[in-house]
Every structure is written in structure tokens, then in C-alpha cells.
């Protein structure tokens, strides 16, 4: 089950939810870096006022040990400072990792198996007491406790002794692989090289928790804040939350968060139609409202783009995610590379993108890595299908494979109305393959059934619509779970659907993990993606684009390519 939550939670964390994805023809997608622009109302941002966040999903399990976030999350990041954090900047600049509690992003040694951090001076909790390295160690240890499960699985895999450690409640001694030689220094000792450690150190598990104030499972109700806001109300497991300014947070030690509003009200459990309607009307407190998890749907987008005032209030973001067709070669006829190639040629990315909401909500892609340099994006198109598919080439390949009389296959999808794995996308694939003489039967499953079936090693269908998002902007968490042969999970959630276990690929993954220079590593990930792509183990379809409304009084809208979502810590309402 371990990666099961990776997808679902990652999606929640990055506020993807009902992601309406659409796309442009491959050639005219936006260029790297200029895609996500800031925006918002005119005038310099001022302190004060109340910001309202209208969301569908509640801030469940608001405990730093239990949150599954990318880069510390959006709202959690207002309360929890972490060793490192996301750079709060527009576009590609926002995929960089920067120091937060630590003075730098970490000093690697021993082939990136040891990571040392020094804390800044003058760090305080909301009650004014100092933050120490022992509190960060304790915060990490808490996440190993069974009662505080939910976080990302990496700590358990990476830290020496992490696979057997049961958390500080059962094992008071703590983890030996985390050392705190003094109050300002913390050292992590890993089993293997992890050049991406600084990116993961932005997760809430690296937030300090004062041992004396730890209330176990109840900690989420009133966590001790290290960030610019403290939790004054948390009702209905994160459904209604009120955050107020933390007087002991100092801007001098925190260059990333701005904290303009005095107060933040989080209201969740709303439907996307309600959220978008309230944001577009913007009456009363909704004029100073934003959403971190609700996209504009295709129909809403058509409406908004026709209205200049509304169109100016749409933030566009790119999150590192790819929707693709996954093949399971254990099921015939997908064991035959020619059949997989034929399907790759036959796919009509224009109709798939339209099904996902059109070119403003999805960009067609032929690479598995999303169109973002920090993730290692390297263009390739091994089976050029053009914008509309190459049925003739597909038929030719099918003939060579011995299916001259056509082929009947089953495509598994979910019935969730998410414009990603939903029936719309499945029927678009079906219509395109029909042109190439492939009859596609659709197997639509209820969302939970679908999740269970596509991740079960035994039951994995031969062909299904899948999507994969990055836990942090790097090629590692994108490629390794899906193509690393040692991550084939037989008794839990398996993401290596292709069952690829190639020693060359495995060795290259290990080699890149030793690199601590992100740009150099990105290049190698890109080359690896290009190489794996030759085997046609997936058919990359599109990358999502987020289009989200914000209220008319909202200023200083910053959308990074790390999250693709407007950053709550930057927003001003005065």
C-alpha cells in the first residue's frame, strides 16, 4: 500500500483535485518560464484584512507528521516552517528549493548519504520559546508513529533504521540516524545517496514539534506554530479553520512568506460550482477570497474568457504532472511492442486534450516527464502521431504484429468527473483508435475500485488511463516509482505497471541520485526518460494547466511551477 497515498495525497496536497486539463498542439505550448504570470488587483500590497480560502477538500489531519504535501503544502506552510522550503516566485523560478529554518539548503557528504543543516538564529514558536534542532528531530520521529501515519514514505526508505523504527511514543530512545550535536545543528544519515534530500526537507515532517507540547493524535487541533500564522480554530477535521497572525514570527528570519492578511478563514466542503460562482460574483468577504484546490471547468472557462473583468481574475499555473495511457505487458496483446507502438501512433492528442477541457486546461505531450526543465524535460517524439494521430502507420504496425483484421482491447478508466481519468478522455481515445481498426471496449470503474485495481500487481488491467505527479520538482520522484525494477510491489500498490526491471535503468537511477547539482541531475533524468520512452511502455497524453479564479480585492498573486497554485503566503487583500 505504500505508494497508494502518493497519488491521492499528492493530488490533494498540490490542490489538483478536479483538474480540468486541456492542451494545445505540441508545437504551440507555452514556453518554459513565461507561462505562469503573477497578477491580482492594482496597487502595492498592504498588511491587514481577512483572506478567505474557499475549498472543496478540508485540511484533513492538520498534523505535521500526517500531512502529505509537496514542498510543505500551501495552507500548512503558513503554520509550519520547515528546514527548507519552496521559493515563492512565479513560474520556473518557483521550482527552486531555498532555506527556511536552516541557514542553507543542506551540506551533503559521503556521496549525498549524509546531510547536515545549521539553523538560523532567533527562531521562535508562537509562545516565544526558541526552536531547537532537537524539536526538528522529534518532529521527524513522530511521523514514524503508527497513530500519526499519512506522510510520504521516503523517510522510512531513506533513513538508516527507518524501516523498523516505530516512533517516539513506543521507542523513547529515538532514531540514531538523526544526530543533534548542538541546539543549532542536525545531521541525517541515509542508507543510500539522495541528491534530492533538500527538496524533501521542505515537507511538514521537517517542521519542529516541541516535545513538551505534543498531544499525540490531538496535536492537529492546536499545533504549536513556527510560521506567520497560528491556528485559533480547527473544526470538523480541517473543514473550518481560522488562522491569526503569530506575533512571535519574524519576517527577518523568513524571506519567503509575506503574511499580509491579519486573518485567514478556511472554508471547505464546498462544491466546485459553488466555489467558482462565489469567486466570480465576489460579494462581501468573497471579494477577498481565493481557492487552492478548485480549477475552472471547461464550461466555466468558456464563460469566464468571454468576460474581460473575470478573465483578468484567472491565475494560470503549471504543476509537474502527466496523464498517460499505461500498458501492462503481462496482459496480451500488450506484451508485443508493435501493438504498443501502434497505439502510440494512433492516438489523437487533439481530441484527448479537448476531452480534458481544451487547450487552455491541458497541453499535449509526447514525453513522460512534464514540460518543465527542473524535472529534466527533454523533448522527444519516438512515435510521431502528429496532432491528430497517424492511423495508417498504426495499421501497418498492427499488420506486422499479425492483427491485420483489427484488434479488440479493453481500456480501463474511472467514472469520476475529473477530466483526467474520466469517461470523456476514454471515449476520445476510443474514437482515435477506431480509425486505426482497433476496437476499444471501455471498462469504467467507480473511483475507489479504479484506484485499487490499477495499483494491484495481480489485477492490473492491460491498458488504463493513469496520471503521475511530482512530489517535488525533480525527475527522481517522477521516474523511479514508475520505472525502477526494485520498486515493483507485489503485495501492495504497484506503480511500475510496465514491470520494467532493467539493470541499466536501475543503475542509472542510483547514479543520478548521487548528484547534488540539480541541473546536472535534471539532464540525466531527461536522457533516461528519452531512453525508456523508446520501449513504448506508456503513451504520454497531456500535462494539466490550472486555471483558477481569485477575488477582485486579491493582490500579489504568485503561482510557482512547483505547485501550479496561487501561494497563500504571498496574497494581500489590502
Amino acid at each position: 500500500m505504500r505508494h497508494m497515498s502518493v497519488i491521492s495525497r499528492r493530488v490533494a496536497a498540490a490542490a489538483v483535485s478536479v483538474v480540468l486539463v486541456g492542451g494545445a498542439a505540441a508545437a504551440c505550448g507555452p514556453k518554459e518560464g513565461d507561462d505562469a504570470k503573477g497578477g491580482g488587483a492594482e496597487g502595492a500590497p498592504q498588511k491587514g484584512g481577512t483572506l478567505t480560502v474557499l475549498n472543496r477538500a478540508p485540511q484533513k489531519q492538520f498534523d505535521p507528521a500526517r500531512l502529505y504535501t509537496s514542498g510543505g503544502g500551501n495552507i500548512p506552510s503558513l503554520v509550519y516552517r520547515t528546514l527548507t522550503t519552496r521559493h515563492r516566485a512565479n513560474g520556473a523560478e518557483g521550482t527552486k528549493v531555498v532555506p527556511d529554518l536552516a541557514a542553507d539548503t543542506g551540506t551533503p557528504s559521503d556521496d549525498a548519504k549524509t546531510w547536515t543543516y545549521k539553523l538560523k538564529d532567533g527562531l521562535k514558536y508562537e509562545d516565544g520559546s526558541p526552536i531547537t534542532s532537537a524539536d526538528i528531530k522529534y518532529g521527524v520521529e513522530r511521523s514514524f508513529a503508527a497513530e500519526l501515519s499519512g506522510g510520504a514514505p521516503y523517510l522510512r526508505d531513506w533513513l538508516i533504521g527507518g524501516d523498523t523504527y516505530q516512533g517516539p511514543y513506543k521507542e523513547k530512545k529515538g532514531l540514531d540516524s538523526i544526530e543533534t550535536p548542538d541546539e543549532k545543528t542536525i545531521v541525517f544519515k541515509l542508507k543510500k545517496s539522495e541528491g534530492d534530500f533538500p527538496y524533501f526537507a521542505a515537507s511538514t515532517q521537517f517542521a519542529p514539534v516541541p516535545k513538551a507540547k505534543d498531544t499525540g493524535a490531538k496535536y492537529a487541533e492546536h499545533p504549536v506554530s513556527s510560521g506567520p500564522y497560528k491556528v485559533v480554530k480547527n473544526a470538523g477535521d480541517g473543514e473550518q479553520m481560522t488562522l491569526e497572525r503569530n506575533p512571535n514570527w519574524s519576517e527577518e528570519t523568513d524571506k519567503e512568506r509575506h503574511a499580509y492578511p491579519d486573518r485567514i478563514e478556511v472554508k471547505s466542503g464546498l462544491s466546485s460550482a459553488v466555489i467558482n460562482q462565489r469567486l466570480s460574483t465576489g460579494s462581501g468577504p468573497d471579494a477577498a477570497a481565493v481557492t487552492t484546490d478548485t480549477n475552472l471547468g471547461p464550461a466555466e472557462l468558456a464563460q469566464v474568457t468571454g468576460d474581460k473583468n473575470l478573465a483578468a481574475r484567472v491565475g494560470t499555473g503549471h504543476f509537474g504532472q502527466t496523464s498517460y495511457l499505461a500498458f501492462n505487458p503481462a496482459v496480451k496483446p500488450f506484451d508485443d511492442p508493435k501493438v504498443r507502438q501502434a497505439i502510440s501512433y494512433a492516438i489523437n492528442r487533439t481530441s484527448v486534450v479537448n476531452a480534458a477541457g481544451g487547450s487552455s486546461l491541458a497541453e499535449p505531450t509526447t514525453t513522460f516527464l512534464p514540460r518543465q526543465k527542473p524535472l529534466g524535460y527533454t523533448p522527444y517524439d519516438h512515435f510521431p502521431a502528429g496532432a491528430k494521430g497517424d492511423a495508417a502507420k498504426a495499421k501497418e504496425l498492427l499488420k506486422e504484429a499479425g492483427h491485420e483484421n483489427g484488434l479488440e482491447i479493453t481500456l480501463t478508466h474511472s467514472t469520476a468527473q475529473n477530466f483526467e481519468t474520466s469517461p470523456e478522455v476514454a471515449t476520445a481515445v476510443q474514437a482515435a483508435l477506431k480509425e486505426a481498426g482497433i476496437t476499444v471496449k471501455l471498462e469504467g470503474l467507480e473511483d475507489n475500485d479504479y484506484d485499487e485495481k490499477i495499483h494491484s500487481f495481480e489485477k492490473q488491467p492491460g491498458l488504463f488511463i493513469a496520471h503521475w505527479g511530482a512530489d517535488w520538482p525533480s525527475g527522481g520522484p517522477f521516474l523511479a516509482p514508475v520505472f525502477d525494477g526494485r520498486q515493483i510491489v507485489k503485495d501492495g500498490a504497484n506503480f511500475n505497471t510496465a514491470r520494467l526491471d532493467d539493470p541499466k535503468v536501475n543503475d542509472e537511477i542510483d547514479a543520478i541520485n548521487k548528484i547534488t547539482d540539480h541541473d546536472a541531475a535534471a539532464q540525466r533524468w531527461g536522457a533516461l526518460d528519452r531512453k525508456i520512452g523508446e520501449q513504448a511502455l506508456t503513451v504520454p497524453l497531456f500535462n494539466p494547466v490550472y486555471k483558477r479564479l481569485f477575488g477582485k480585492d486579491v493582490k500579489n498573486v504568485v503561482i510557482s511551477n512547483w505547485t501550479g497554485v496561487l501561494d497563500v503566503s504571498q496574497v494581500a487583500v489590502k
Binding site: A299, A302, G357, S359, S360, P423, G444
Partner: protein, 334 residues
């Protein structure tokens, strides 16, 4: 005038069963609204049957995508006015896919009508069977069947239908499955009605006479009760039909209806709801079809009920007489 007085006096207490089919037919024909409704339904059935022909005439396929007809950058809203109406696409195209709406609507009629008629047939079969058995059976059978019926009436249909759809193999034809599912779960009202009607019929002289002359329960049910039950059953079925169409729509809405890409009005309506501002045509078309069909069934059902009721029939004639008098008066003035 005397004849009219006689007819009004004739069916005093509704003691006798409705008169024979020819009279009923005559009374039905006299109701213009019922005739119009029947014509509309006939047209709809014709449309559904001729779907492939109509598609060929228009030159469109219900499942063919037309990427160039929708504005991808604006969420896939159709180019052109009124949802992209053109000489090639008579009622415009579907947003996002560019599939032809006219052909999808006529093919959708097949599913919607088939499910509605099929489900109603199942409901009549089960409802009449259970209702008769409950009224005629011994105390044990009666109380058992009455309680089962009560449970069926109280059951949350959608939840059970969804569960049922999940159990049945994926290959089973969905429209048939939908008809059976709705029919199997929604016969409670029909059973109650038939039981109550049968119990009141049993007290009437002609039934008593049949029993006294030695007719078996089965024979009495077949020869005496069933013909008399026709009126209420047909009336109620006319109410059930539109309910079942809406039920198919709501099942499709929840994703347990017919499978994509098969068009159905319910499914079209469910995907169209978000488009009501950006592309009103897309919402209006399936909504209008559902509205017209439901209205036609209701009006026809009302007509049949009236035609089967002798009292209603006589009132009808009085009304016609009055109207005639008024028009002649007006003519005189002119």
C-alpha cells in the same frame, strides 16, 4: 338533450367495469389532447427506430469526433451560433468533442424510450402478479406479500440500483439491465394499487356471482378481475413511464447508466448541466426532449384514464355540447 341527460344518469355508482374497447377507443379519440400526445409519442418512436436512417440522411455518425468545430482554447465550446448549428450539423455539436447533436439525440431516444417502456412492463408484470396474489391469497401469503411490498416502496431505489449495476457483468447490455433494475426495484406502488382495487372488486356482485357459480380463484382472477383491473393499471403505467425516463436520466447522471459513448438523454443532460451559460443549446436539447416525452406520456395517460372512466366520458360529452352551443351563438351574432 334527452340523450345527454340519459348518459349522465347512466353510470350511477361505477358499479360495472368500464365498457368494451370500441367505446373506450371512441372516447379516447374524442380527446384531442390525448391524440396529440399519442402522435408526439409515435413520432418519437419513429425517430428512435429510424435513427440510423436519419443519421445517414444528415451524413453524420453519433460517435465521430470533430475537433475543428470546437474552440479548444475556450474549454471546447462549439464555434458558431446556437451551439454550432450548420447545414452539416442540424442541431449543432457537443462541446469538447464536436459530436453531432441531432444524431446523438435520435439515438438517445432509443435508450430513453427502451428503458422507460421496458421498466414499466416489468413493473406491471410484477406489480399485478404480487398485487393479485396478495388480495386473493390466504392470510399468511397476504401479510407476507404486503410487507414485502411495503419494504419495496420504502427502499431507496438509487442506492440499490447502483449496487445491482455493480454486480452484473460488464458485458450485459446496459439499456436492458437498466430497464430490469428499475423495474425490479420500483413495482411497489403498482402492487399496492392492484391489491386495493382487487379487494374492492371482490365485493361487487359480478365477482360474487362468478365465485358462487363455482369458478376457481384462478378463473375468477383471469376472467373477471383482470379485465376490470386494466383501467387503473394502464392509468398508473402512464404515470410510471415518465418517472422511469427521469430515473434513467438520474442513473446516467450518477455514472451507472448506459456506457459511453452510447448516447442517452439522461447522460447528455448530466454532462450538459455545467454548460448552461456557455452553450445553452447543449442543455436545452436533451431537456426539451425529456420534457416533451414526459408531457406526452402524462397527457396520454390522463386521456386513457378518462376514456376508461364512464363518468368522465359523459362529462366530456356535456362539455362538447356546451362548446358547440357557444360557437353557434357566436356565429349567429356575426
Amino acid at each position: 338533450m334527452t340523450t345527454e341527460l340519459l348518459t349522465t344518469a347512466e353510470p350511477e355508482a361505477g358499479t360495472a367495469p368500464a365498457s368494451g374497447p370500441p367505446q373506450v377507443w371512441r372516447r379516447l379519440r374524442a380527446r384531442k389532447s390525448a391524440l396529440a400526445a399519442a402522435a408526439v409519442l409515435g413520432l418519437l418512436v419513429l425517430l428512435a427506430l429510424a435513427a440510423p436512417l436519419l443519421a445517414a440522411i444528415e451524413g453524420q455518425d453519433p460517435n465521430a469526433y470533430h475537433d475543428t468545430l470546437v474552440d479548444s482554447a475556450r474549454g471546447g465550446v462549439p464555434f458558431g451560433d446556437f451551439g454550432g448549428i450548420s447545414a452539416e450539423h442540424w442541431l449543432g455539436v457537443e462541446p469538447g468533442t464536436g459530436r453531432d447533436l441531432f444524431v446523438r439525440l435520435v439515438y438517445g431516444a432509443r435508450v430513453s424510450l427502451l428503458v422507460a417502456v421496458g421498466a414499466t412492463a416489468v413493473q406491471i408484470l410484477i406489480g399485478v402478479g404480487i398485487g393479485l396474489a396478495a388480495a386473493l391469497g390466504n392470510r399468511l401469503v397476504e401479510s407476507l406479500l404486503t410487507h414485502v411490498t411495503d419494504v419495496m416502496v420504502a427502499m431507496p431505489l438509487l442506492v440499490f440500483a447502483i449496487a445491482l449495476m455493480a454486480v452484473v457483468p460488464a458485458d450485459f447490455p446496459r439499456p436492458v439491465l437498466l430497464a430490469i433494475a428499475i423495474g425490479l426495484l420500483q413495482w411497489g406502488g403498482m402492487a399496492r394499487l392492484v391489491r386495493a382495487q382487487t379487494l374492492s372488486l371482490m365485493k361487487l356482485d359480478f365477482v360474487s356471482a362468478a365465485r358462487l357459480t363455482g369458478g376457481s380463484t384462478r378463473r375468477v382472477a383471469r376472467r373477471e378481475l383482470l379485465p376490470s383491473l386494466a383501467a387503473p393499471v394502464i392509468t398508473y403505467a402512464a404515470v410510471l413511464l415518465p418517472t422511469n425516463i427521469v430515473m434513467e436520466a438520474s442513473m446516467s447522471f450518477l455514472g451507472v447508466g448506459v456506457k459511453p459513448p452510447t448516447p442517452s438523454w439522461g447522460h447528455m443532460l448530466s454532462t450538459a448541466t455545467t454548460w448552461f451559460r456557455a452553450d445553452p443549446m447543449y442543455v436545452l436539447l436533451p431537456a426539451l426532449m425529456l420534457f416533451v416525452t414526459t408531457l406526452a406520456f402524462t397527457v396520454l395517460g390522463d386521456g386513457v384514464r378518462a376514456a376508461l372512466d364512464p363518468r368522465e366520458a359523459s362529462r366530456l360529452r356535456v362539455g362538447r355540447g356546451r362548446r358547440k352551443a357557444r360557437t353557434s351563438g357566436a356565429g349567429g351574432a356575426a
